[in-house]
Symmetry: C2
DNA sequence: CTGAAAGCGCTTACAG
DNA sequence: CTGAAAGCGCTTACAG
C-alpha cells in the first residue's frame, strides 16, 4: 500500500530567520517552525491580545464579531495549536496531573489509572504516569521530575512504605510542592502529606477472616507482600485480628512474605503442597498472588477448595474469571480513581481532606467449609 | 495517628511582591512562590547563566569548582526544581511522549503502555496517556491537545479505523506535528503517518486457522470486533484465508461482530449454545472476548473443548490463567512497546521506518481435535 | 570561564 | 473593546 503524501499547499507563515539571540527554532530540512499566536494575529490583522482573547474565551468573546471571525479563520487555516508550555509559563496554570504508581502492568493499578485518566479528562486535565516499581529511590526521583512539570496535582497511588526514613526526602518534595500551590493526593496508602483516600485494608481483611473462620477453618496460612509495604502489613494485621475475634490464631511459620506476583503465589503453593500438615485455608493479601497460589496448588494435585480454600484481596477482574473463582475483598477501584481526581481539583488546600473507602467481602468458589475429615482429624 | 507537621524553618527566598505587570505568582495564604533559578543564582552569588550551566551540565561543568559548589549547595538548600515549561520554551526541547490508546483498562493496552512507560523512563522521558475509547472524534480532540504539549513524539497505539475519512482530520494534525519536528509512531495499526510498528494480524490468524483445521475442525465461527477497526478486519481476513488454504470456508452467518469485551463473548456464547448445529471451533479475534466466550459456553452447559474449541488472539496474561487455558496467537507486547519508544527517539525523521512484528500460535487446553461423533456425524 | 541580555510564545494588567 | 508592553522562568549566543 502506498503511503499517502502530505498536503503541502497550505499557507504557512513564511517568517524570515529569527533574530540573532535565542535562535531556537529549528528550520532544518523541510521542518517549519510551529505556528504561533503571533502568526495567527498577523494573518487576522489583529493584535496578539485580541487573538489570545478570542481563542481563550470560547464563545464568551464580547468584541467585534468580524475580528473574532478573522482570528478563528486564521487559526483554522494555519492549524494553530497553542504552545502549552508558553501558556503554562505565562498564566501560571497547569492542566496536568502527575500520577505516581507502583506498576501500571498490574491490573490493580491499571484499573485505578484508567479511572483517574477518565475523570481527569472530564475535567480537561492530562495525566502523566510514572512507575516506581516499589522502589523508594525511584519514587523520589520521579516526584522531583514531576514537580518540575508544575502539575496541578500529584497523586501518589499504592501502598506506602513502613520505613518512614526512606520516605522522608519524598515527603519533603511533596511538602514543597504543596507550599507552592500544588495539590497532593495520597491514594490507598497514608503518606502523611496532602489529601488522603484511605482504603480500610485492616477492616476488610478482618471481616474476611470472620467469614472464613465461620466456615469452620482453624488452620490458616497467610501470603502477604514485602514487609516494607504498609498495605501488606495492614492486611495481615486485620486478618490476624479477625481470627483473634474468633479465638483463633496464626501458627508460627504460617505467614509468608512473597513477591506480589503470580509467581510469588506459584512458589508458595509448592511449599504448602509439600507440608505434612497443610493449612485448610490460605489468605493471600493480593489477588494476583492468590491466583498463582490456586494454580500452583492445582498443579501439585491439591484440590481447591476441596482440600485447601484460598481467598484474596482486591477483586481484580481476573478474580472472577479463574477456576475456581476467587473469594476476595472487593475494592472499588473505579470510585477510588474518581475521588482522587476530585480531591486533586479542590482549590482550598488549607484543609486536608480524608476519604475512607471500605472493601467488601465477596465469596466465590475458591473457599468452602472446612473438609469434614480434616475437621474430624483436628478435633 | 497524628499528621506530621511541616518543617518551615528552611530559608526560602523572601522576594518582594513582583513587578506591576505579569502578576502571576500566587502569594495567597501560606503559599510561597516556587524557587526560581534566579533565587539559586542570587544565593550562590553567581549569574543566572552560571547557575544554569552548573545545573544542566551534570558533572561536565568546567568552571571554577567553588562556583559549582555554591550553586549546588544553594539549589539543594532551597529545594530548587527547574520549571519544566520554562525550560521547554527556552530550549525548544521536550521530555514528553504522548501516548494515545483506546483503553488503558484493557490488559492489552496496559501491558503495552507499561513497556512504553518503562522504556521511556530509561531514556529520561515522561509519558502522558490519553484514552479514546475507540472514538475517532475523541482521538482528534486528544491529538490536538497533545500537540499543544509539544511532546517529542506522539505514539498512536491500537487498531486504526477502516473509514479513512474519519481519520483524515487526525492525519492532518499528525502531519502538522511531524512538519514541526515531532515524531509520530503508529503502533499495531497502520495510519499512513509516521513510523510504524506493524503487527502481522493477518498472517497470525491465518496460521492459527491452519492449526485448527489440522485438528480436524470443519465447522467454524468467528467472533471479531466492530467492523470499523482494521485489526478486527485483518484478523478475520487472515483466518478466512487460512481456512481457504485448507479447502474450508466460513459458512454464512458464522461471522459475529461483537463488543471487544468479556461481555461481548458472554452474549455470543448464549447465541452459539442455542444453535441447533453448533460450530465445533470458534475463533475470537480478541482474547478478552474468547475468555467471555468460554465462560459463557460453560455456563450454558457446553463443554470446552469437548464440544466446542475456542481460540483467541493476543495472549494477554488472562489467557494462560483461565480454565481451560486459552489457545491463542501470542503478541510480544513488551517488545512492541520498547520498539515504539526506540522509533520515537529516532532523530532523522526523513525516513519512515517500519517494523514488522509477528504473532506466534500458542496451543493450550481450550482447543482439541474435533469430537469423534461430530466428525462422524459430519462425514 | 563568566555575565549581561535577548529571546522562547504566551497572558494580562494598564491605557486609550 | 482593543492594543502595546511587561512579564512568566528558563537557555544560550555573544562579549569580555
Amino acid at each position: 500500500m502506498q503511503r499517502r503524501t502530505v498536503n503541502r499547499t497550505l499557507r504557512f507563515p513564511d517568517r524570515p530567520h529569527p533574530r540573532r539571540a535565542g535562535e531556537n527554532r529549528r528550520w532544518e530540512g523541510v521542518k517549519r517552525a510551529a505556528v504561533r499566536l503571533a502568526d495567527v494575529a498577523a494573518q487576522a490583522q489583529v493584535s496578539l491580545a485580541t487573538a489570545s482573547r478570542v481563542l481563550n474565551s470560547q464563545g464568551g468573546y464580547t468584541g467585534r464579531p468580524a475580528l473574532r471571525e478573522r482570528v478563528l479563520a486564521a487559526a483554522a487555516e494555519l492549524g494553530y495549536e497553542p504552545n502549552f508550555h508558553a501558556q503554562a509559563l505565562a498564566s501560571a496554570t497547569s492542566t496536568t496531573i502527575g500520577l505516581v504508581l507502583h506498576d501500571i502492568r498490574d491490573a490493580y493499578f491499571a484499573l485505578m489509572a484508567g479511572a483517574i485518566v477518565r475523570t481527569a479528562e472530564a475535567h480537561g486535565l492530562f495525566v502523566t504516569i510514572v512507575c516506581t516499581y516499589r522502589d523508594p529511590s525511584q519514587e523520589l526521583k520521579y516526584v522531583k521530575l514531576l514537580r518540575a512539570q508544575r502539575p496541578r496535582a500529584i497523586i501518589m497511588a499504592g501502598s506506602g512504605f513502613i520505613n518512614r526514613s526512606a520516605f522522608e526526602p519524598i515527603e519533603t518534595e511533596l511538602t514543597r510542592f504543596e507550599e507552592t500551590g500544588g495539590v497532593v493526593v495520597s491514594v490507598v496508602g497514608d503518606r502523611g502529606v496532602g489529601h488522603r483516600i484511605v482504603l480500610e485494608n485492616e477492616s476488610g481483611s478482618r471481616e474476611l477472616a470472620h467469614t472464613l473462620a465461620d466456615l469452620g477453618h482453624t488452620r490458616f496460612a497467610v501470603a502477604t507482600g514485602p514487609a516494607r509495604l504498609t498495605t501488606a502489613r495492614d492486611r495481615l494485621k486485620g486478618f490476624r485480628l479477625g481470627l483473634q475475634d474468633r479465638g483463633l490464631e496464626l501458627p508460627k511459620g504460617s505467614v509468608h512474605h512473597v513477591d506480589m506476583t503470580r509467581e510469588g503465589g506459584l512458589r508458595l503453593a509448592e511449599l504448602i503442597a509439600a507440608q505434612p500438615e497443610r493449612p485448610t485455608c490460605v489468605f493471600a493479601a493480593f489477588d494476583v498472588v492468590a491466583a498463582g497460589l490456586i494454580a500452583g496448588l492445582q498443579q501439585n494435585g491439591v484440590d481447591v477448595p476441596g482440600e485447601v480454600s484460598v481467598a484474596g484481596f482486591g477483586d481484580i477482574p481476573l478474580a472472577a474469571q479463574i477456576t475456581p473463582a476467587l473469594s476476595t475483598v472487593s475494592v472499588p477501584l473505579e470510585l477510588i480513581g474518581q475521588q482522587a481526581v476530585e480531591l486533586a481539583m479542590v482549590e482550598d488546600s488549607s484543609i486536608r481532606r480524608s476519604i475512607s473507602i471500605d472493601g467488601t467481602v465477596v465469596m466465590r468458589a475458591s473457599t468452602a467449609p472446612v473438609p469434614a475429615r480434616v475437621a474430624a482429624h483436628d478435633g
